[in-house]
Amino acid sequence: MTDIAASLDSRMDQFLAGARACVPVAISVAAYGLVWGVLARGAGLSLLEVIMMSALVFAGSAQFVALDLWTATPAALPIGALVLAALIVNLRYLLLTATLRPLYPAKGLLGGALSMYLVTDENWAMTVAAMARGKGSVAFLMGGGALAWIAWMSTNLVGYGLGSAIDDPSRWGLDFAFTATFLALLLGMWKGRGDLVPWLVAALAAILTSRLVEGSWHILVGGVIGSLVGAYLETRKNADKS
């Protein structure tokens, strides 16, 4: 009995710690949430559609792309293009959720797979940073995801209600909050010189891709190539030793 209570307590602590860790990025999520709400109104989404999309899709970049394709007349709505765009923009999540697998126990995969719903770039980054320090847990991941969800949904609604009376976040430098936080997280993951080449390769591949193709392909391309180079160098080094 006390064991169960203690384990619930520690899960709650982890959940809150995850939410706290995500506050810096939640500020940026909120700023973009406002903008998305304003643009969604302009694109002709109804309030119910805004709520459904943010609750069910819950993926910022895919939702921004969807606004470009949305039409106010239902008959003209390009359903196939909307679904395909969401798939392509979100393909990077294959890499992100694969790295979270070690947090979960060997059994009970269905629940774990469903909990991936709450994974965003932001709480993923915070959680893998915690994992690199030997910390991080499912509750930590969920706490950050819950904060991101609340920040996204609430500011979408405020933006939708306010209409066009919203500033561009870049006017206040808030567009840089993502980049600054992710850069600091990256530096915190530095384990030694073995990281240098894979990170540089990932960065160069991402820069090249972002120049050539629109959208979020640079994350997927840089992430795959950089991590493969890292794995190749690491296994080759180990093979040399043995």
Binding site: L56, L100, L109, A113, I207, H218, Y232, T235
Partner: protein
Amino acid sequence: MLTSPEAVAAILGMAIVTMAVKASGFLLADRLPRDGFAAAWLRHIPGAVLAALVAPAVVTGGVAEAIAAAATAAVFILSKNLFAAMAIGVATVYAVRLLVAG
């Protein structure tokens, strides 16, 4: 206007493919061997993805982004404080954009 069947279909379709991708990565990780190349690959994904997220924003931005990235990195290396690093980065971008624009 509340919604339309077309809009509901589009939103549900978007939600299903998004959830499918997220769940697939998680489930596929189980199929990978626990050691050797595949395990090393998984270990290197977080750093590579973060580098891929950050690099284009820093390089293709302007002077403001480059200076702010340097300031963010310096503050984080010295203080190990994520929030301070983020706040300095945002403040620097704001200040340099004001100076450059005005």
